[in-house]
Amino acid sequence: MNVKNYVRFEFQSLPENISFARSCVAAFAAQLDCTLDDIEEIKLVVSEAVSNSIIHGYASNPHEKVVIAVSIMDDDTLEIIVEDYGVGIEDVEKAMEPTYSTDPSRMGLGFTFMKSFMDELEVVSKPGKGTTVKLKRNFAVANKEAYA
């Protein structure tokens, strides 16, 4: 599968950049033949993943770096990778369970939303090294009809 278009951006782990990140990914994804609802869902999953990197990965330290790589493939698959170099996750499987959170003030729904709104979710994490969240969704027209 070839990459049709690609963007990679890295930014400071500042809360203000969560909104920036989701707008940018949405602006890029708008090249796909997708609906406003699709764009809303993309914004949501990016918001969840970037918030996690900032809150959990970096314990809200604003001087770290979050990286997002977005690719549009030949078959109109959108691939979003959100990466941090923070504390990492001990037990990824547990972390992905609905309502599980290590922070009692949070919902534990971030990964659940990512799973619901994307076709694929892959989380690779090394404690002390960081976390990579890979999200994929196909926006080919044939596929979209299956969604409807």
Binding site: S19, E48, R106
Partner: protein
């Protein structure tokens, strides 16, 4: 809950301004009901502003019921839901009632998917809640 909320004294008691000097969070106290109107994207940044204002009021102990007006909210994520649930817990602990009003379709959808709408009833307008 007849007539508990009377919208005569619509006095804004607190506003939190966003970077572009628009009002992000507008808070009104109407008898013993706190009415919070949120304006913008309810993500982590806004959630923190909202939480701070909301908890300050709720902790004063004079609030019984809570209305969160999401009419002007264009986006919500799980950080936004978290602060709504935090408000809900406090209001429940004080035997009050909580309502969400004005959620746009995309916001409503997240409220439903997350199960929040099972805990907190959603109405279209503040007026509807008044008329309950």
């Amino acid at each position: 809950m007849e007539g508990i909320i009377i919208f005569l004294q619509k006095i804004v008691i607190a506003t939190v301004e966003g970077g572009d000097s628009q009002v992000d969070v507008e808070i009104k106290m109407v008898r013993n009901t706190l009415v919070i109107r949120v304006n913008g994207e309810l993500d982590m940044v806004m959630a923190e502003k909202l939480k701070k204002e909301m908890e300050a009021r709720l902790d004063e102990g004079e609030v019984k019921n809570l209305i969160v007006n999401l009419e002007k909210v264009t986006f919500i994520d799980s950080s936004g839901l978290g602060v709504i649930i935090a408000g809900y817990k406090k209001v429940m602990a004080a035997n009050g009632r909580m309502y969400i009003v004005g959620a746009k379709p995309n916001v409503k959808r997240i409220l439903i998917l997350s199960g929040v709408s099972k805990l907190i009833p959603i109405y279209d307008t503040e007026q509807e809640v008044i008329n309950l």
